[in-house]
């Protein structure tokens, strides 16, 4: 067959400057990725190098030395404090946040009040933790003194909007025909929500809440203002000062003493491991059970 391939048509001619730009931009994007991987690797590396040696049973349980110049463990009170404050905060913020999200998604679909609350929750996620800390200081600590509950309050306020927004996103993923099926069987709305909608959305909700908890566990600024600094274990949430890993890292990082800095590294590694484990659980829950977008 005769073809007019001889007419100068050349599909192989690759427009060189354009192809070069295309390649260059792809390379730039890879460099961007590298620009994130390098600091991440640097942080993780120094954390492991300086922190791993600190971790021991004694480090996890012993009191914090009252004289920071002293070398050696431990961080027991801070670990207890972090767990306690975070747990109490979660116990307050999660039920409330989930209820709020249910209100937004199930009761007031598109209502003006609902939209306002959603908007406020979005804005509230942007309130810096230091502001939240001082808010709790002004409204709570001035009256009830520094204690773990104040810290829990501050963390709860930080978690609440996040929990509301992520839960609502998950509830939105529950198909409407599930709700209709339940309603058609004569179930009340509260019943429908509790027995049909929430179970369907639960894995996503759990994972979203865990991520919010992981973030809150690392918060520092509010702890400084409203929790104070203890050196021995205090399990009473409402009485006397307490402490947390994050606050200990902050305090010890600024000290010129080798022992203090070592404890800071150990505390940092502990805190990162804690946050990492919570995040990992969230990931597994999402991957295994969650409704897909």
């Amino acid at each position: 067959m005769t073809v007019d391939g001889g007419s100068g048509l050349d599909l192989s001619q690759r427009p060189s400057s354009r192809t070069r730009t295309d390649r260059a931009m792809t390379a730039v994007m890879l460099v961007c990725l590298l620009a994130v991987v390098v600091p991440l690797a640097a942080v993780v590396y120094t954390l492991l190098k300086n922190g791993a040696g600190q971790l021991s049973a004694e480090f996890f349980t012993a009191d914090i030395p009252t004289i920071s110049r002293i070398e050696g463990p431990g961080m027991g009170p801070a670990i207890v404090g972090t767990l306690l404050i975070t747990a109490v905060a979660a116990a307050m913020a999660l039920p409330l946040g989930i209820l709020g999200a249910i209100y937004l998604n199930e009761s007031s679909a598109g209502g003006r009040l609902g939209r306002l609350i959603r908007f406020m929750a979005t804005v509230m996620t942007g309130v810096p933790s230091v502001v939240m800390g001082l808010f709790v200081y002004v409204t709570y600590t001035l009256r009830f003194k520094q204690n773990a509950f104040g810290g829990a309050l501050a963390l709860a306020f930080l978690m609440l909007p996040v929990v509301i927004r992520t839960t609502e996103e998950m509830l939105k993923l529950v198909p409407d025909n599930l709700r209709e099926a339940s309603a058609a069987l004569g179930a009340r709305r509260s019943r429908t929500v509790l027995t049909v909608v929430l179970p369907a959305a639960l894995p996503g909700v759990v994972s979203g809440c865990l991520l919010a908890v992981a973030r809150a566990a690392g918060e520092t600024a509010p702890i400084l203002f409203v929790v104070g600094a203890a050196t021995s274990v205090n399990t009473n949430v409402f009485r006397e000062v307490n402490t947390a890993l994050s606050a200990q890292i902050f305090a010890n990082a600024q000290l010129p003493f080798e022992g203090a800095q070592q404890r800071a590294w150990g505390a940092a590694l502990t805190l990162v491991l804690l946050a990492f484990v919570i995040t990992l659980i969230a990931r597994v829950v999402t991957a295994r059970f969650a409704l897909k977008r």
Partner: protein
């Protein structure tokens, strides 16, 4: 069978209780913002009242003389967040483009995981790394930059003498690392909504991948990207602990990026322990100023993002 039909029944009460509880939860959010603004402003009032407008404009902060001018900290907050944005925005958009447009689908998840891992690390840990490791390692680089650019008129002012490694630049870099995950994930989400048909339309005109990105993906994502950047800005301005550890904690306004300074939230964290009386009120005042600034930024970001959503809905 004789019982009258009652459509309200007991479940009606449960329904209403449930609705009430849910409404209460929503209301907390609703009143929280107002309460925060009111209570903190009231607490800060003695200092704000004494200083007047000088509280924001003056750069003299001398607690012993009862003079509280936050100007230097506002300046520090703006400088460090600007540095953070300049560094983090291109990097984040680059990563988001790579993930959504370039990388094979198999790579996608690992990349997302790695970037999100940065968000798992608490800010105080970045601060610890910054003060004990990074600020020392980066010092020679600053000196090199000072040597290269220090002599150039105008631009040279930015690259002045280096004291310690704890300065605006170090704080900006650490902030950049911290806000990259949030900007990246928001950018990724908005880029993902670019319709395949738009992308194919550009390809069908003979575009290379980069030309397709410039012609279809970026115009489509523009509003969302602006929103993502502003949310990142809000984060950077409010970040306290990491900045408090690496900015140098000095009251000073200098064009020199390698000079020590301080930022609004960092100053609060560093001075809280020793402050009392009006000094404390002034620190709460710094928080009020920070609150106002971040709320404005976040409101603007939310508005921009919502506009994107509506436009997306129309198409």
């Amino acid at each position: 069978m004789d019982a009258p039909l009652d459509f309200r029944g007991k479940a009606g009460i449960a329904d209403r209780l449930f609705g009430f509880a849910a409404l209460a939860a929503g209301t907390i959010v609703l009143v929280a913002l107002g309460t925060i603004a009111f209570t903190t402003t009231r607490r800060a009032w003695p200092a704000l009242d004494a200083m007047g407008f000088d509280f924001i404009t003056s750069t003299r902060w001398a607690p012993n003389d009862e003079v509280f001018g936050a100007g230097a900290f506002v300046y520090g907050t703006l400088v460090t967040s600007t540095i953070a944005l300049v560094l983090a925005v291109p990097v984040s958009i680059g990563i988001a483009l790579f993930t959504t447009q370039v990388a094979p689908p198999r790579w996608r998840k690992p990349i997302v995981y790695v970037v999100d891992l940065l968000a798992v690390i608490p800010s105080v840990v970045f601060g610890l790394w910054g003060i004990l490791v990074f600020s020392k390692q980066v010092l020679p680089v600053y000196e090199l930059l000072h040597g290269w650019f220090g002599g150039i008129p105008v631009i040279g002012a930015l690259f002045g003498e280096t004291g310690s490694g704890r300065n605006f630049m170090t704080a900006g870099i650490v902030l950049a690392v911290m806000i990259t995950p949030i900007i990246t994930s928001l950018s990724r989400e908005v880029m993902d909504t670019c319709p395949t048909t738009d992308r194919e339309g550009a390809y069908a005109l003979g575009a290379t991948r980069w030309e397709m990105i410039r012609g279809a993906v970026l115009p489509h994502s523009r509003n969302g990207l602006v929103g993502a950047v502003m949310l990142g800005l809000g984060r950077a301005m409010g970040e306290t602990i990491a900045v408090a550890l690496v900015i140098g904690s000095t009251v000073g306004v200098s064009a020199n990026l390698f000079a020590a300074g301080d930022a609004l939230p960092a100053r609060i964290a560093n001075e809280w322990g020793e402050a009392e009386g009006n000094w404390r009120a002034a620190l709460v005042g710094l928080a009020v100023a920070l609150f106002v600034i971040t709320i404005i930024v976040n409101l603007a970001a939310t508005a921009v993002v919502q506009r994107t959503g509506e436009r997306g809905g129309r198409r």
